[in-house]
Structure formats: structure tokens, C-alpha cells
Amino acid sequence: MKEFLMLIREDANYGELSAEEMQACIEKHYRWVETLREKGQFKEAQPLEAGGAHIRGKQRIVSDGPFLEGKECVSGYYILLAESLEEAIEIAKGNPDLDWDRAVEVREIMPMED
């Protein structure tokens, strides 16, 4: 079993979503994660704060980073368990975030070579 990092990219502005839609979004996610758990495909997931810092190079230049409001940024991550990238992609396709036109990115976490 391999581990995959799934990053959620979205516009940090939920302004147009109504209360009803937000509830629907939460419930869809909850149900989806439950099915992943049952299939043993879920390890963990965490949301990320919208703010943060970007630190670059030898000079250690600190900036606000690419977290500007209204711009697509990484809002959270999942660690998925799958046999192959293909399987991980199929799992990721089930993420309800896609129904709200968000984007996800799936990358295999490279295991330590024995």
C-alpha cells in the first residue's frame, strides 16, 4: 500500500456560498470520508489556515506568500492509501470539492528506499 498526498486548491473566498450549500458541502465530505475509511483508503486529513508566510533563499526573505485573497491556494490536504497512482486518482475523483469546482492534486509520497 502506498501513501498519496492529495492537495485541495481553491479560491479562499466562499462569499457566494449560502448556508444551505455550505451544509451540503460538509455533509458530502463527511459521507465521502466515511466510505474511504471503510475501504481502508484514508489515513488523515487537515485543513490549512489561509494565512501563512513565504520564506525564500539565502536572504531568508519573508513575504505573505501566494495566499492572497481571491486567489487559488492550498486549503487543505489528505493522505490517501492506494496501490497505485491510478487508484489514487480514482479515489481523488470522488472528492466532493470537485463538485464546487475546486481542484485537487495527487502526488505519491516517496517511501524511503530500503
Binding site: 466562499y14 448556508a19 455550505m22 460538509i26 459521507r31 485543513p47 486549503s75
Partner: protein, 418 residues
């Protein structure tokens, strides 16, 4: 939340109104914009966290606490940068460690009622009252409002801003005694709730037919009103009317989305428990001797609900009830037309056809269509196919709802076939 992690249906929507009401009661209507922002912000925070971790054990308390903290921070921020527009309103003593008034449930019910009365303020236009009520008390966002009431988003936004400015300016006090001020406002509030229900029922120009959400919200808010309404008869009558309405929903729309006229409805699809509930409230209203508009309309609906089949309808009584309604509202085209429908079944279609030829509608939307559609149907029943088709043609040119057009076309086909 139940064991499967499911939130109650419409939990966010309902809790949105509850939180706004509680916060407005404690911190004042002058801060309405900040309060609405804090509540919206709270749902966004919930969305961020609950999406990953599922809802917490006590979602209500979680939301209320977060909303209150967000509001307090925002108000402190405004106070510090006092050029902010709302800063003139005095701030109540702020502390995050105070006992939480937002969590007290009955306070929130009172608050919602007061907010409802405020939203139905006579200074607001009628449509604006519906919009602001749905927005503030039912958590409807701008796109949802635009969709539900068939307006463009910009118009909805402007209407909400206009209403909020008036509510702020009136600086309505939502306090313990504000409930006592409900009585004189009750008829207006009931009217708005009924309009709200009708918006869902008619779903004007909307091919969906019935917008159940609007009807559900109207019913929920009316129920909220009942324990404090004095006299309660008007609220009881309205509740009866709404229950008789929702009870017949399933029969009103065909599986493929067509309107089904009363005559053709499968009455076994009517929801008996809801009809029973309607009769319960009708009974309550009857006892008080109140005979206002909602009561008469509920009585009419009760006669339809009580008839086992269309031919058994007591049209004579329904006609007389419409006459009483007409006495209360002599200028309503809708009531006069409905009275004539009842008459056409009680007396016969031909005399009514003649009356309809001389009937003039007021300018209110949809009435010209109704008149033409009705003329067509009355002529059809009288066996005058040519006149019926001419009237149906006219109705088609006036129809604003795809469902209405379908119904008229179907009736034209039957007329021609016979």
C-alpha cells in the same frame, strides 16, 4: 446531529436566523451588518473545519460560540477604528467570558420573532420584506434569493442594502418588551409569511413548480410565532391554510413536472396527517370567532380537503366564502375570479362565461392570464369549442410559466379532440 454525522435538514439555514436574532438582541440592530458578516464568517469557518473533521459533538453550541467571538472581535475592531460607520452605536460591555446569551434557546426564539417583526416593518416595500426575511431569518444567500424570487442578483443585493439601511436607521430595539409590540404588527407579519409561502407555491415563472424550501420556511416561521401571538387566531388560521396547502403538494405536480389541476388530482396522494393538522389549527381559530382573510381562505381550503372527490366539492359554500372574502377585499381580482370559478361549478359554466366576458382585471401580474385561461375552461365545459380555443390562444400569449403553458396546451388538445 445523529450518530451518522448527519446534521438536521436545513440546520445551517435555521441556525443562521437563530444566531442573527440572538446577537442582534444582545448587541443591537445598529450592528446588523457586522452581525450578518460574523454569522456568514462562522459558517465559512465551520465549512473549513467540519469538511475535514466532521461536525463537532455540539454543533449548535460550536456555531454560537464562534459567531459571538467573531462579532466581539469585529466590534472591538470597529471601535478602535472609529471612522467605521457603525461605531456611533454604543457598544455593550464586551467580554468573551460572559455567560453566553446566544446559547439560550428561548431567548433566541423571542429574538427571531422580534427580528421577524422588524423585517416586516411597514417602512419596507412588500417584496423587500420577503427578501430581507428570507435573508436574515432563513439564511438565504443572494444567489438563492435571486433564484427563488426570479430577480437578478444585483437587484436582490440593492434591495437588501436598502432594507438593512432602514432597519439600522430605525434602530429597532429588540428587547424583552418588544414581544408585547407584536400584536399591532401581527396582521402585517402574517401577510408577509403568507406571501412567502405563495412565492414557493406558485414558483412564479419558474419551471420547478413548487419551491418547497420557501413553503417550509414560511411554515417554520409561522409556527415560531404561534406561542406569543395575541390574538393567536390569526396565526392559527394561517397555519391551517399553510398545512392544507402543503398537504396537497404531492398531488399537484406530476412526476414529469406538469401542473395537475384540482379536478384531475389523485386525492389519495394528499397527505392526511398534514390535513389533520390543518383542521386542528382551523378548529383553534374557529373558537375565537375570528373571521379574517386567512381564516376564510383556510375554510375554503378545508372544504377542498374534505371532499373525497372533485364532484363532491361543496361549491355553493365555497362560493359564499369567496363572497365574504370579496367583502373584505373588494378590489382583489384573484378573489373575484375564484368566486366565479366556484359559481361555474355551483350554477353552471354558461352564466359565468357571460360574466367573464365583461370582467376587467386590475393590472396585477398574472391576472390577465388567469382570466383568459378561465374563460377557455368555462367555454370548454359549456361545449363552446371555438370560444374556448380563442381564449386558450390568448392565455398562451400571456403565460409566464412553462407549467402554465403546458396546462393550457393540454386543455386545447382535449377541446379540439372533443
Amino acid at each position: 446531529m445523529d450518530a451518522s454525522g448527519q446534521l438536521a435538514a436545513h440546520f445551517f439555514r435555521e441556525h443562521s436566523g437563530r444566531m442573527v436574532a440572538s446577537l442582534a438582541r444582545v448587541y443591537g440592530m445598529a450592528h446588523l451588518d457586522t452581525i450578518l458578516d460574523a454569522v456568514q464568517d462562522t459558517f465559512e469557518t465551520a465549512l473549513t473545519h467540519w469538511r475535514y473533521h466532521g461536525p463537532p459533538d455540539h454543533p449548535r453550541a460550536w456555531l454560537s460560540q464562534v459567531a459571538r467571538n467573531k462579532l466581539i472581535n469585529a466590534l472591538k475592531h470597529h471601535a478602535r477604528y472609529s471612522h467605521a460607520t457603525e461605531a456611533e452605536a454604543p457598544l455593550p460591555a464586551l467580554s468573551t467570558t460572559d455567560p453566553d446569551p446566544v446559547l439560550a434557546d428561548e431567548a433566541s426564539t423571542d429574538g427571531q420573532i422580534q427580528l421577524l417583526v422588524a423585517c416586516c416593518h411597514p417602512a419596507l416595500r412588500e417584496r423587500d420584506r420577503i427578501l430581507i426575511t428570507l435573508h436574515i431569518l432563513c439564511g438565504f444567500g443572494i444567489p438563492e434569493l435571486a433564484n427563488a424570487l426570479q430577480m437578478n442578483r444585483e437587484a436582490v443585493k440593492k434591495a437588501l442594502q436598502r432594507s438593512k439601511a432602514i432597519l439600522r436607521q430605525k434602530s429597532l430595539k429588540l428587547g424583552q418588551h418588544a414581544i408585547a409590540a407584536l400584536a399591532p404588527q401581527l396582521p402585517t407579519v402574517c401577510t408577509i409569511l403568507y406571501l412567502l409561502f405563495n412565492e414557493g407555491y406558485k414558483a412564479t415563472r419558474n419551471s420547478k413548480g413548487i419551491d418547497f424550501d420557501l413553503c417550509y420556511e414560511a411554515l417554520r416561521l409561522t409556527k415560531l410565532l404561534r406561542p406569543v401571538a395575541t390574538p393567536e387566531a390569526e396565526v392559527d388560521a394561517l397555519l391551517a391554510l399553510l398545512f392544507f396547502g402543503v398537504a396537497r403538494f404531492p398531488a399537484r405536480l406530476a412526476a414529469y413536472g406538469d401542473w395537475i389541476p384540482l379536478e384531475e388530482q389523485d386525492r389519495s396522494l394528499w397527505n392526511t396527517p398534514l390535513i389533520t393538522e390543518g383542521f386542528h389549527y382551523l378548529d383553534q381559530a374557529k373558537r375565537s370567532g375570528y373571521a379574517g382573510r386567512h381564516y376564510l381562505e383556510a375554510l375554503i381550503a378545508s372544504h377542498h380537503c374534505a371532499a373525497p372527490h372533485f364532484a363532491a366539492t361543496d361549491w355553493k359554500t365555497i362560493h359564499d366564502l369567496y363572497q365574504l372574502l370579496e367583502n373584505l377585499a373588494p378590489n382583489s381580482t384573484l378573489i373575484r375570479l375564484n368566486k366565479l370559478i366556484a359559481k361555474s361549478y355551483a350554477v353552471g359554466p354558461l352564466p359565468v362565461a357571460i360574466e367573464l366576458e365583461n370582467f376587467t382585471v386590475d393590472g396585477s401580474p398574472g391576472t390577465a392570464f388567469l382570466l383568459a385561461a378561465m374563460k377557455g375552461h368555462v367555454y370548454q365545459r359549456a361545449g363552446c369549442a371555438a370560444q374556448a380555443c380563442a381564449a386558450y390562444e390568448e392565455a398562451l400569449s400571456l403565460a409566464q410559466n412553462p407549467l402554465d403553458s403546458q396546462l393550457i396546451r393540454k386543455r386545447m388538445e382535449t377541446t379540439i379532440a372533443n
